[in-house]
């Protein structure tokens, strides 16, 4: 069996604060996992833990068969974990181009491909990261992860701040990556339908614990669970 990421009985948080409590899951190579949940349930913390930004109090995490617990962040990146953080965290004093170049690896996407995915970024390549618009920064954050040639892609609300037409493009690009296999994806999204249609599996977090786990398609159909765990019913009703 070919496991890309696995967590077992994971307890993690910031300093002494525990956020993730007893989280376990496994994800096979080439598959996409949607992580859903309300505000502050620990979605970002899960990704942060995979990148090594949190304190792991108990449990194991591993990627590609290697244990991650004690691995420094840059080794995780070199081992093939690509990360798009929620707050974008692009490097403000570097130009857009430099932001990509510092992250680029031979096995990753060529810069040209990133620019054809996001033509706007190509036009702004010489602008400093800090002066880019919110959406441009988001594109850059995604591009930066892709040029590193990730085998495991962690996306924390990648659609945020993007115009609908760009969301569409990005959606298709991600779908293509998913369909090509090879790259494993963990996707945190506020827009449940979008996330569920992109992923094969889903987990829903509640207060740092896994409240639901199953195939995405199933959850997409299960209105009552969605309403209960995500509170999305309101939107449905307003439409």
């Amino acid at each position: 069996m070919n496991t890309a990421v696995a967590a077992s009985r994971l307890v993690a948080g910031y300093g002494e604060t525990v956020v993730l409590d007893d989280v376990s899951f496994e994800l096979e190579t080439g598959r996409a996992l949607a992580v859903l949940g309300r505000n502050g349930v620990g979605k970002s913390t899960l990704l942060n833990t995979l990148m090594g930004f949190t304190t792991v109090h108990a449990g194991q995490i591993s990627a590609f068969g290697q244990p991650l617990n004690a691995m420094p962040t840059h080794h995780r990146s070199r081992a093939g974990i690509g990360y798009v953080p929620q707050e974008r965290e692009i490097f403000p004093s570097l130009s857009a181009m430099e932001n990509l170049r510092v992250a680029a690896r031979a096995r990753g996407w060529p810069l040209a491909d990133v620019f054809s995915l996001f033509p706007l970024l190509g036009q702004r390549r010489e602008s400093s990261g800090g002066s880019l618009s919110g959406g441009e920064q988001q594109m850059l954050a995604i591009g930066r992860a892709l040029v590193g040639g990730p085998r495991l892609l962690l996306l924390d609300e990648p659609m945020e701040g993007l115009a609908p037409i760009v969301v569409e493009t990005l959606y298709q690009a991600l779908a293509k990556i998913r369909d090509a296999g090879g790259i494993t994806m963990i996707l945190v999204e506020q827009h449940a339908e979008l996330a569920l249609s992109l992923s094969q599996e889903a987990i829903v977090l509640e207060r740092g614990r896994i409240a639901y786990r199953g195939p995405s398609a199933e959850l997409a159909r299960d209105e009552s669970t969605k309403t209960r765990l995500l509170g999305v019913g309101g939107v449905e009703e307003a439409k």
Binding site: F53, E89, F91, L94, N99, V102, A103, R144
Partner: protein, 287 residues
Amino acid sequence: MSEFTIVLDGIAYGMVLFIISVGLTVTMGLMRVVNLAHGSFAMIGGYVAAVAVGAGVPFIAAAFGAALVAGLTGALAEVLVYRPLYRKGELAQALMTFGFTFVVIAALTAIFGTSIKTLPLPEYMSGLVDIGFRMYPAYRLFLIAFGLALALALWLGIDRSLYGARLRTAVDNPRMAGAVGINVNRLFQLTFAGGCALAGLGGVVGSALLPLEPYYALRYLVLFLVVVGVGGVGNFKGSFVAAISLGVIDTVAKYFLPSAAAYLFYGAVLALLLWRPDGLMPARSAQ
């Protein structure tokens, strides 16, 4: 032609400022560590070279040896003193590096005594050279040439290179730099050692104008800080322009208006900074 000489003198003085401050542009400007210990590394370099030259080592070899020693000391200090600091904020850094400077001063005084150290220039640098209309100290010409070469090398090697960009990522956001695969610790250690080596080299090369003595590390610290500050934190072009401007302004003013000279250096700093609050050449992030 005296005016020309004065400008030349100013440039030479500015070059000394540049050569010694440039290491601080690396550690404080690029790495954003409030590095009040910069003078200590320059001083370590200078003392090492003084001992070496005293023991018969040729000047140039001693200078590079001193840079190496200062660099290694810097690498060690980075692990022991600086690494715990990066996250602690600028005030903690100021305190720590100040303490470090005290310790270095006390240690060097204990080893070498309280008198000043001189670093005799080699024959070929201590004489006068005919520059067409008069004789001029060779040492000052050497300073100008050396400063220019150093500026060019650093500009190409850091400002314009991927290495420079990597360094800036690590400074902007070390967490995220790690997440794109950069080994922040090693990068910082190397860079810091480089900055210290430059300081050491500067301490040696500039010793004829900034004499080596136990208090060196504190006495000239302000000068270095001012150059980096006026230049706009974190870029070599800025430090270079600032050092030369301040050197020339200071020197020319002292020549023409010796009675007001005491006010002129800091007056110039004040004026330049009020005119250009982001430094003469603001770093890109300051936009």
